[in-house]
């Protein structure tokens, strides 16, 4: 072992120079990322908070200081929040359950499954706006709506997917599930494939039924990926916008007016209400932080990491 004292002063100075240079180098490497973070995340968040304290519009945000008055939210904020919660709840359950079921079905290597994987994944590549347009045609209650054409041919009555306030939100959830399930399914499937077959054989020898094996072995062993899904689907659903904007534009009535629609509405479609929109944006962010903290604090305890 050589200690520092066995080097000459000149060598020590050289070593320190090398160390300083590598320190500078590492900061230079992450500088672009830090700049992006500052410019596109930190700065907008801070300025959004400042705008939320003012009365104004997009052209002139700082007309008059109002303090925290914008945080005294209007009743329609609660409607938007409830709609968002409903959307998130439905999307979470539907996407989670379907991706687990499809993954369980597809994870064995069969020719059919390779085709099925592609079929499930392709919608994920379609742009949200295009998907929204296609599905609003499919779900239309006009004579050209494909779903209703099939329903009528089979003798069922017309379903007013997007035109009925009781079904509109679920219809949007359905479209987004179709779009996203293949991606999440792929994540679950690769987790399932990493479970050694001996564990399943051992469970069979232990007399475990396939349902019990699924709940006692498969689900706990893919729990890290399920937790990842929980976080990404929750935060993703909270921010849902494009599909709602295209398919219902918040209607019928206020049935599908989610938080991001509310923010868009107050920021750009009305005059001098930018402060409300920014306050709602800040509240939405805090809510997402709270939900994520809850997930990490309570739900993550049940997650089994290898």
């Amino acid at each position: 072992m050589t200690s520092l004292s066995s080097f000459t002063t000149e060598q020590v100075r050289e070593l320190k120079r090398i160390k300083r240079r590598s320190w500078l180098m590492s900061y230079a490497m992450i500088l672009p990322a830090i700049l992006f973070l500052l410019a596109f995340v930190i700065y907008p968040t801070v300025s959004m908070f400042i705008m939320s304290l003012y009365y104004g519009n997009a052209m002139n945000p700082y007309k008059k200081f109002k303090g925290l008055a914008n945080y005294n939210v209007r009743p329609d904020f609660w409607v938007a929040l409830r709609n968002t919660a409903a959307y998130t709840g439905m999307a979470l359950v539907l996407v989670m359950v379907l991706s687990i079921l499809f993954a369980q079905w597809m994870y064995k290597s069969r020719k059919l499954n390779n085709v099925a994987q592609t079929v499930f994944f392709t919608p994920h590549l379609v742009a949200g706006v295009s998907a929204g347009f296609i599905w609003s045609w499919l779900m239309s209650s006009q004579p050209y709506g494909l779903f209703n054409t099939v329903f009528n041919a089979l003798g069922f009555s017309t379903v007013r997917w997007l035109d009925d306030s009781s079904t509109a939100m679920f219809s949007i959830v359905l479209m987004n599930t179709w779009k996203n399930v293949g991606y999440y399914c792929l994540i679950i499937m690769s987790a399932m494939k990493s479970i050694p077959t001996e564990i399943y054989e051992s469970a069979r020898l232990d007399g475990s039924s396939s349902i019990k094996t699924f709940f006692k072995i498969t689900i706990p062993m893919i729990s890290p990926q399920l937790f990842f899904l929980l976080i990404t689907i929750t935060t993703g659903s909270f921010k849902v916008f494009d599909s709602v904007r295209i398919m219902t534009n918040g209607g019928p009535g206020d049935a599908t007016r989610v938080l991001s629609m509310y923010i868009y509405d107050y920021a750009f479609e009305r005059n001098n209400t930018l402060g409300y929109a920014c306050a709602a944006g800040i509240l939405m962010m805090l809510l997402m932080v709270a939900v994520t903290v809850f997930d990490f604090g309570f739900v993550e305890k049940k997650v089994h990491y290898q």
Binding site: P196, E198, I199, E201, S202, A203, R204, L205, D206, G207, S208, S209, K212, K216, I217, P220, M221, S223, H304, Q306
Partner: protein, 351 residues
């Protein structure tokens, strides 16, 4: 307690036949070791007994009852896997308990048995730990306890020691032998390691390319090898096999050779040789010797203090008649120590 009988059993994966027309009886209450190189079909046989890789033809009987198509949980067996197959999300206790719960064993009985077998394998202090906190040897013990707690009639073990380090492996070998003696249960143990097979087995089933080469006690396999494969599989280094006339070959184990500078009378085999390498193995010496016809043989000697037998020295290679095995042209064992007609043909005596 159970006897297992294979009747004309075959197994193919797709169009590849791994095992064909195999007959085998595994005796009740004995420690049977299936040994062979990888791909010889030993694990396939074990999985057939377990019911997780069913036979494609023939029948498997357990105590006279046909179990060929019985699901694994209906068979009275337990299995220990090479990678242990511990349930990583369950605690040690839950791992051991899982099979009992599925069998609907009442709670008090479960607790009693878990305590008993955790004690046997020395895992009592770790019952509430997760497997990820434990060492390889400890996981191995969980796998053993999980198998034992079911009180099966047959224990199946698929290379259970191969993931352990050498020291632990030797210790576990002794423990497994003791365990089998104590439980008196049928053990079927798969390994590729001849030392494990020799040291643990009551009966060794030696396999190669899906066929059984020899069945016998370790003594029989060592002293009466059925063929050249069997003779060379057991023993390190393997038996020296040298050609004679008419395709007949003779074999002599490295440890059965006497090596001296002077010819010693009363031996059956004499050859002149030249020591190429000399290895000191501690208790023993191992030599590589080139014979005058150019072939090389291995010699092993317990005389570990012979400073006169150095590399590059000329020696006499000799062996007693009783130590010499003869094999016919198909590699089948003819006998050892005779017949005299073959002993006389060994040649080289008057070199």
């Amino acid at each position: 307690m159970a006897e297992i009988v294979f009747e004309k059993v075959g197994k193919s994966f797709g169009s590849t036949k791994v095992i064909e027309n195999l007959d085998l009886t595994i005796e009740d209450g004995k420690f049977t070791v299936l040994v062979g190189s990888s791909g010889c079909g030993k694990t396939t046989l074990l999985r057939m007994i377990a019911g997780i890789g069913p036979a494609t033809s023939g029948r498997i009987l357990m105590d006279g009852k046909d179990i060929t198509h019985q699901p694994p949980e209906k068979r009275d067996i337990a299995m220990v896997f090479q990678n242990y197959a511990i349930y990583p999300t369950m605690s040690v206790r839950e791992n051991i308990e899982f099979g009992l719960k599925n069998k609907k064993v009442p709670k008090e009985e479960r607790d009693r048995r878990i305590a008993e077998y955790a004690e046997i394998v020395g895992m009592t202090p770790y019952l509430d730990r997760k497997p990820s906190d434990l060492s390889g040897g400890q996981r191995q013990r969980i796998a053993l306890a999980r198998a034992m707690v079911k009180k099966p009639s047959v224990f199946l073990m698929d290379e259970p020691l191969s993931n352990l380090d050498a020291k632990l492996r030797a210790a576990m070998r002794v423990e497994l032998i003791e365990l089998q003696r104590r439980l008196g249960t049928t053990f079927v143990y798969v390994t590729h390691d001849q030392i494990e097979a020799m040291s643990m087995a009551d009966t060794i089933v030696l396999m190669e390319k899906g066929e059984i080469q020899q069945i016998g006690s370790p003594e029989e396999i060592y002293h009466e090898p059925a063929n050249i494969f069997s003779a060379q599989f057991i023993g390190t280094p393997p038996m020296n096999v040298l050609p004679m006339e008419d395709g007949i070959r003779f074999g002599v184990r490295p440890e059965s050779i006497d090596m001296e500078h002077q010819r010693v009378d009363g031996m059956a085999l004499y050859r002149k040789g030249h020591i190429i390498t000399r290895e000191m193995l501690g208790a023993e010496m191992q030599y590589k010797v080139r014979l005058s016809d150019g072939t090389t043989i291995m010699v092993r000697s317990e005389e570990n203090d012979r400073s006169d037998l150095q590399e590059d020295s000329d020696v006499w290679i000799m062996a007693r008649a009783s130590r010499i095995h003869f094999f016919d042209k198909d590699g089948k064992h003819i006998g050892h120590g005779g017949p005299d007609s073959l002993l006389a043909k060994l040649g080289g005596m008057n070199e």
